[in-house]
């Protein structure tokens, strides 16, 4: 580990003014510390933002909820307002990491966690994300956990978060405090940048900017919410594929559908076209199959992760069957208490 300066910020202004080149904010530290030990990340300064007041609250906001950036994952999952109105978020959180990590990890940190691509984690391997222009050893390597949508020649890394997938399905907005002190909000697809030729740039955050909150819009009272995660073991494994769904029925037709996917994209993956083709339609296996075709039309896979096509299709169909009432609800929908 490289030596670094540790600074503690007591207010947002303070944090912004301390942030300079080579500085990194730290909250829960569950990802950053691992990366620093491996020297994948080598910040010269670490600015601890845990002491900043007011960022650890979950408050009503314009009919929805405003979740402070320092709210711990465990607290967010257990919050009664979240469990009642946004069960998909609670389920997604509980499907991620372990109890110990959820106690420590924060909302803002979860959004900004780095990919778990094993080639990114190993400094002996070429990685464009870690070392721009170095190449990508993951191409042609062990690809099981890599993304299949939104990738580029330079990078196939997947975003590992469960929480962010649920937030994406809920159309959450991310509140960012700029270095000038002004606050702006962006949609999640604006926060996350696709890798293209610059996989080292993962978000639209500028140096010194801080995520201060995530804003959930008012809940749709008649919608069914569901989170389904398929993984290699029952707990403490990243998603091979996950699906978050918020679906509202009107009689026999789908009034509104918002799907987001984990494990397959460089960001929590949503496809407006997929949602649109479901809306106004009568639920059927055929319809869901077509939605999966559309979702996966641009997928790029290799031998090691080609299974994600079929797995994604199955997850999408199963979630939609349950959310539309075609099949009885199972564990993971808000009609059945989660066991996790």
């Amino acid at each position: 580990m490289r030596p670094f300066d540790y600074l503690r910020a007591n207010a947002l202004d303070d944090a912004a003014s301390k942030a300079g080149d080579g500085a990194q904010f730290i909250a829960g530290g569950t990802n950053l510390l691992d990366l620093m030990k491996l020297q994948v990340m080598t910040p010269e300064t670490v600015i601890d933002i845990n002491n900043i007041d007011g960022l650890d609250k979950i408050e009503p906001h314009e009919g929805g909820l405003k979740i402070g950036a320092l709210v711990r994952n465990a607290d967010l999952a257990a919050d009664p307002q979240v469990r009642r109105a946004y069960p998909v978020l609670s389920r997604a959180l509980l499907a991620g990491a372990s109890g110990q990590i959820r106690n420590k990890a924060t909302t803002g940190g979860n959004l900004l966690q780095r990919t778990r691509c094993p080639y990114f984690y190993d400094p002996a391997m070429a990685c464009n994300k870690r070392d721009p222009g170095a190449g990508c050893a993951a191409k042609g390597g062990v690809s099981r956990m890599l993304a299949i949508l939104g990738t580029s020649a330079a990078c196939s890394a997947a975003h590992p978060s469960d929480m962010a997938v649920a937030m994406r399905a809920l159309d959450a907005q991310v509140e960012i405090r700029g270095t000038d002190g002004a606050t702006r909000t962006v949609a999640m697809d604006e926060l996350y940048q696709l890798p293209g030729e610059t996989p080292e740039i993962e978000t639209s955050l500028k140096p010194g900017e801080i995520i201060t909150a995530v804003i959930l819009p008012a809940p749709q009272p008649n919608a069914t919410q569901s989170y389904r995660k398929i993984r290699d073991r029952a707990s403490y494994a990243f998603a091979l594929v996950s699906v978050a769904a918020v679906v509202e029925m009107e009689g026999e037709t789908i009034k509104q559908a918002s799907l987001a996917f984990g494990g397959i994209g460089p960001r929590p993956w949503a496809d407006a076209q997929v949602n649109a083709m479901l809306e106004g339609e009568t639920p059927s296996e055929e319809l869901f199959g077509k939605a999966a075709d559309t979702l996966l039309a641009e997928a790029v896979t290799d031998e090691g992760n080609d299974f994600k096509r079929e797995m994604t299709r199955r997850a999408l169909v199963a979630v939609m069957r349950e959310a539309t009432g075609m099949a009885p609800a199972s564990t993971g929908t808000d009609k059945v208490e989660a066991l996790a």
Partner: protein
């Protein structure tokens, strides 16, 4: 002073006559409190004066030569003490019981991840940073095959055994199966990473090491460093898991010793988790072909088990994949054959139950397939094929619980409730049950211990290790039982290489081998007590500090004017030739398979095992359950991912290498030990348990998946994608 006892004939069951009631009792580990309170001192938890820290430097090419190191950037760091490398450095850990240094390759690189140097600094953080800053230059050898199937294979005659004509038997069979299997590579992933602190004191090399076999390890380290073995003093009082990965000395022990000599300061090395994956011996991946032929009555006429395993050149070890296939079932026509692929993946060695852990996947799932073809219950097929004599050697079997464990297990598990294949459903979960037999050869390895009885109690001393298995508990129990002392009057001192040399922990032989030596030492003390009291040995009775026999009674303290000390030493003898001793058992599993996702959840498991005399019911159970968890892991989760170009392990941490999580293991994880005494095994009639638990456990899970879904899975681990592929290929 001490003669070696040779196990030439069955011994009286003295432990059934003694009255203290310790042997077999589910006593707590005496060191348990130290461990759970963090006060047990593991290898890296000593702080000798002036200690410095080392980090291993790894090769980042697959094959070639190191041509130089550029330390410029490292030297800028305050506290940097240097880079150490040289002809004594070892390529990989010593194989189990080698007793000599492993390959010392000089500047040659044979695999990606090979330790090629040691970086030492005043602090661990500086050493790690310095290691990252050192630039190594190489001359690469372009011929570095890493695909096990991509090289010419070497026939391993040691594992070959052919009888009759299997091809003809297959031809004539009423039913037969001819199946291909693959299993993934595994790592032991012990909780305590590999570690050591070396220092030179009074002309001796003192090593606090995380090691399983101190008697062999001192020879290995001495040989590697180039000194006499009596100049090596190894201490390994607590070891946080081994599973075979700490059988031999490892690169960090040699490196620490050399750097400590040069710096004249103690050097501490704790391998990072990633380095454990890179540089510790793994279990090979396997390819296996399993053939079975049977007549219409379900009697096997042929068994063929062929396999391919990997290892580096110059490594004597090869996973004995067909081990269990050689003794589980009988058939007149047999082919057992192994080929070794010499490639440049990370080298392989012993990982818990080498052979049985992966070989039983093929044997025991093939038996399930054959049973289906024959229209026979899988339990019944096994019962019909229990051989009278060892099919290879013609030896008689010693105590063998195969039949009883299958019958008892079927009854306890509710096997008669097993659904027709693919018929039981709970929502989108398909439910099924599976069975597999378990077998693991039992060994007696030379072992010595000293027991001293004084007015204060008894002291057991041996270099035997306790790697979390319960050696402290059982050795104390045996001594207390034999000497009629309550357990709190017995202390046990282990894992100091200056003490009498034991078998060490490995191959499930540690408890019985070292336990026998303690038994023999205590038996000698009993002989002396009988003399002192003036009764015959057979009449002697000891209990709670009293000695009686031949109508006389005395207080133990009154007979002991001076402490009595005796050394017990055992080695295998004629019974090992006349009889084949093995643990046997049966595993039963119930699983749920998700029809949508292909995910598998084990809902309950039962292992019924015959392990001879149970020495401590609690620690034995923990061993068995641990083995069964490994079975679940190798069936469903554990997989080393090798880069197809470099061969190195890509899944080199516990986030990417999946061992079962708690949520993967059912609450109902039952173990039943059948009452058994193995008279031919050793004088305490016990057998190994740690590896029997894993043998067949994974196959029971896989067979249950078939019962649930109708899908046959032959490539492990059976991750969700493979289950879905099975669905796609038709049930």
């Amino acid at each position: 002073m001490s003669d070696t006892f040779t196990m030439d004939e069955a011994q009286p069951r003295l432990l059934d006559e003694t009255k203290q009631g310790l042997v077999g009792a589910p006593l707590d580990r005496p060191e348990g409190k130290l461990k759970v309170t963090g006060t047990a001192t593991y290898a890296a938890e000593f702080k000798p004066e002036g200690m410095v820290h080392g980090v291993m430097l790894r090769a980042t090419i697959t094959r070639g030569k190191v041509t130089g190191f550029d330390e410029t950037e490292a030297k800028k760091l305050p506290g940097y003490l240097g880079l150490f490398h040289g002809p004594e450095f070892v390529r990989n850990p010593a194989q189990g019981m080698a007793g000599a240094a492993p390959v010392q390759p000089g500047d040659r690189v044979d695999y990606h991840g090979q330790p090629i140097g040691l970086v030492v600094a005043e602090s661990f953080e500086t050493a790690r940073d310095a290691a990252a800053r050192i630039k190594t230059s190489y001359e690469q050898n372009p011929g570095a095959p890493v695909d096990p199937a991509g090289v010419e294979l070497e026939l391993n005659e040691k594992r070959e055994s052919i009888q009759g004509d299997l091809d003809a038997a297959m031809e004539k069979a009423a039913q037969s199966v001819d199946l291909e299997y693959t299993t993934a590579g595994h790592v032991a992933a012990a909780m305590e990473p590999h570690a050591g602190i070396a220092e030179w004191k009074d002309g001796r090399l003192v090593l606090h090491g995380s090691l399983q076999m101190v008697r062999f390890n001192k020879e290995e380290l001495a040989d590697a460093v180039g000194i006499e073995s009596d100049k090596v003093h190894i201490l390994a009082p607590y070891v946080g898991g081994g599973f075979g990965s700490k059988l031999g000395i490892s690169s960090e022990h040699v490196a620490a010793a050399l750097a400590a000599r040069e710096l004249d300061r103690p050097v501490r090395i704790v391998l990072s988790r990633q380095t454990v994956f890179d540089a510790v011996l793994r279990r090979t991946e396997t390819w296996q072909r399993l053939r079975l032929s049977a007549d219409a009555s379900g009697k096997l006429t042929g068994i063929g088990h062929e396999d391919r395993v990997s290892n580096l050149e110059e490594e004597a070890f090869s996973e004995p994949v067909n081990a269990a296939s050689r003794f589980m079932y009988g058939a007149p026509n047999r082919v057992m054959r192994q080929h070794i692929s010499r490639n440049h993946r990370t080298p392989t060695g012993s990982v818990r139950a080498p052979g049985e852990a992966v070989g039983t996947f093929a044997l025991e799932t093939a038996m399930d397939e054959l049973a289906e073809k024959l229209g026979l219950c899988p339990v019944e097929l096994r019962l019909r094929n229990i051989p009278e004599k060892h099919p290879d050697t013609g030896q008689a079997y010693s105590a063998r619980a195969l039949e009883d464990s299958l019958r008892e297990g079927a009854k306890r598990f509710g096997w008669d409730q097993r659904p027709e294949t693919g018929t039981r459903r709970e929502g989108e979960w398909l439910i099924g049950m599976g069975v597999a037999a378990a077998g693991r050869a039992n060994f007696l390895v030379p072992s010595a211990a000293r027991v001293t009885l004084s007015a204060d109690g008894a002291l057991v001393e041996t270099d035997m290790t306790d790697i979390g298995t319960g050696s402290y508990a059982i050795l104390g129990q045996i001594a207390g039982e034999m000497l009629g002392l309550p357990i709190d009057k017995v202390s046990v001192h282990l894992a100091d290489s200056d003490l009498p040399g034991a078998s060490g922990s490995g191959g499930s032989f540690g408890a019985s081998s070292s336990g026998s030596s303690v038994f023999l030492a205590a038996r000698k003390i009993r002989e002396q007590l009988a003399d002192k009291l003036g009764c015959k040995f057979e009449e002697l009775s000891l209990g709670n500090g009293e000695v009686s026999g031949g109508g006389k009674t005395a207080k133990l303290v009154d007979l002991l004017s001076d402490p009595i000390s005796a050394e017990g030493k055992i080695e295998g003898g004629k019974t090992a030739k006349s009889h084949f001793s093995a643990g046997f058992g049966a595993h039963f599993a119930e699983v749920a398979v998700n029809e949508v996702s292909g995910e598998v959840r084990v809902r309950r498991m039962l292992g019924v095992l015959g392990i001879g005399r149970v020495l401590n019911e609690k620690t034995a159970r923990s061993q068995a359950v641990g083995g069964m968890v490994w079975g679940v892991g190798s069936a469903l989760h554990e997989e080393l991912g090798h880069d197809p170009r470099t061969g190195h392990i890509v899944t080199r941490d516990l986030a990417n290498y999946h061992v079962p999580s708690h949520a993967d293991i059912p609450r109902e994880m039952e173990v039943v030990f059948l009452p058994e005494r193995d008279d031919e095994a050793n004088p305490i009639q016990s057998k190994g348990v740690g590896e029997l638990g894993i043998s067949g456990a994974g196959a029971a899970v896989i067979n249950a998946i078939h019962n649930a879904t109708g899908v046959r899975l032959r490539h492990y681990p059976a991750t969700p994608d493979k289950v879905l592929e099975g669905f796609a290929n038709g049930r």
